[in-house]
Symmetry: C2
DNA sequence: TATCAATGTCAAGTATGTTTCACTAAAAGA
DNA sequence: TCTTTTAGTGAAACATACTTGACATTGATA
């Protein structure tokens, strides 16, 4: 699965730490999700979508092999 | 978080076991997600959305307290 | 009633998400 | 260059997702 969290953050001009605060997770969690190291829970995906004002499917996308 | 997987299954007229096969998880996983016992990964949410032909946000929704 | 398909549930084990703390590296600004 | 902010990374601990296997319950149908 891939994501464009970095782009969405850039659009809203917020840091990883700020996003982490907004959705109530640690900064490392944002960092590792953003760099594709692991797949977040659906609750986190929905929260990010809410913060960015975009549907989940515009932020996260399945890849070959998922 | 709540979900309407049961409704979506009804619309497509498929069983928990069939859905499980389609997204490659165990039948129990579908059962427990459907009954809200735990929150699935974003990959599973995207796969279900794909199966049902609906965006993730139409199947899963945040609740107070999430 | 007897049977079968579908669903619910339990327990134990494995895999993976998430946290905290700490430190390094890179980027941006004065 | 020096400083500060932001991002990347590692390890250990803990929480939760997911699996398998087995069995109980429900609902429909013959």
């Amino acid at each position: 699965m891939k994501n464009n969290i970095r782009v969405q953050r850039a659009i809203k001009n917020i840091t990883q730490a700020e996003l982490a605060d907004l959705i109530q997770v640690s900064r490392q969690t944002i960092n590792t999700i953003e760099s594709g190291k692991y797949v977040p829970s659906t609750v986190l995906a929905l929260k990010m979508a809410k913060v960015f004002g975009k549907p989940v499917d515009e932020i996260f996308e399945l890849e070959e092999g998922d």
